[in-house]
Subunit: 269 residues, 2 copies
């Protein structure tokens, strides 16, 4: 018998701009591959890591969660944080590491996920935030967008906001929170759409962000969103917002799946 | 006689990461060169543009001001904004353009300049802000840093905070405002040092930021800054904060130097 396996869940932040996305692929560098290589360098163990979901190329994360098992790691889980960061490019940072029960599944065990979509509504783009915002030069009415969000919270069939290509058993999801914040600045306004749900269909946040902008710019009234939702069909009239404005903020799991509870690794020394 | 010259002042934002700095040089791409080429493409006139100051490689700007003269531009100055942005890389954005009196000198006519220095005080860096923050993992006491700033406001000889290499007639400057803001987040704290003065010596903000961190980390008490200032000598005990955390926010000029006053190009349509 070999040494007992221990399973870990890491919280990962990354700038998705120059990656081919989360998932390992042949023709581009992926976040998953970089993490697996860092784990191999740090522990001399070859692992397969599983993420809470695949982010597309250009999509960012502050709170992606991924899991893997090691047989030889004897130190506390939080010691993996600096050990992995030492072997990662500066576009990927492990923020936290906790031990989880064996068999922990970062996709199936996820209770809630939260995404943020950021729009720069200004006459000119911000070159310092180019990779992290959708620059939308035409004026958006945030009040109208906020009214439209009321039709999307709760449990609905979100088929109309799913891009085809990744079939799911059901397209019914529960949106717990969908809020829009805006901040005025000299050139215009930054708009943040935050959306928390029990799960997301392919491109769901980007399709909702695109549809909310159709309302914000006055092309349709807020109630148009209700019609789109009830149609259960992807509308040709609605656009998909670009990847760069999207960021995976948080994935929540039942606390009972975590083994260590004393991890106080969140604040600086 | 040729057509009458008109002079313009543009407000420019740029991500300084991949530039060799503001000033034209032989072995790296400069912001100045990109702007001159954009002006030539947009107007078919070859110009020399002057900035309010040279930012080093890696230093950013949201409010750099630069000036140039054209003989053939008949349209309102604000029409130069989209015309130039069309020919600029996405790391440089012209935010505003106003007509100024002939002979306007963006260095000598500047009344005040404002810089921001951003520090990430957290156990791990933020990969989405890597190029725009100094990651400082050891815990900083913001209160102590704030106390230290009180010795630096007002009119002083700032020779002790000047890096040699760019001699000035006098090293006396007036700091009108020096404030420190901090924002807690899950991983630690973001610290913003904002400093407004009638002018700055070479590396003055980066040297002040480095010295404030020596106080913040507890290596010296707040009054140590007073001694450094009064020594009028660069201290080997004090570090220069890295370029990437620095951003030129604003340059102020007497309103009488601007010819157009009707420019309302700041908000989206």
């Amino acid at each position: 018998m070999g040494p007992p396996m221990r399973q870990f869940a890491i919280t990962v932040a990354y700038d998705g701009t120059n990656f081919g996305g989360w998932q390992i692929q042949t023709n581009a560098i992926s976040v998953q591959q970089c993490l697996q290589e860092a784990i191999e360098h740090a522990t001399s163990e070859v692992v397969c890591i599983n993420g809470s979901g695949r982010t597309d190329s250009g999509v960012h994360a502050l709170g992606q969660v991924a899991s893997f098992a090691l047989s030889g790691w004897k130190a506390p889980p939080e010691r993996l944080v600096p050990a992995l960061n030492r072997h990662l490019p500066r576009t990927i940072v492990v923020r936290q590491c906790r031990e989880v029960v064996l068999g922990f599944d970062p996709i199936r065990n996820a209770k809630r996920k939260r995404y943020r979509y950021t729009i720069r509504n200004a006459r000119v783009p911000d070159p310092l935030q180019y990779s992290f915002q959708w620059w939308y030069p035409r004026r958006l009415e945030v009040d109208a967008m906020q009214q439209a969000t009321t039709y999307l919270t709760g449990t609905h069939d979100f088929k109309a906001f799913e891009t085809l290509g990744s079939p799911r058993k059901t397209s019914v999801r529960t949106v717990y929170d969908l809020s829009i914040g805006s901040q005025q600045h000299e050139d215009g306004c930054d708009i943040r759409i935050e959306i928390e749900a029990d799960g997301f269909l392919y491109n769901m946040v980007r399709n909702i962000a695109g549809a909310l902008c159709e309302v914000g710019v006055g092309r349709f009234g807020p109630r148009w969103i209700k019609g789109v939702l009830e149609s259960k069909e992807r509308q040709s009239t609605s656009q998909t917002a670009p990847a760069r404005g999207l960021c995976l903020m948080q994935v929540q799991y039942p606390e009972s799946l975590f083994i260590d509870c004393a991890s106080k690794s969140d604040s600086p020394d």
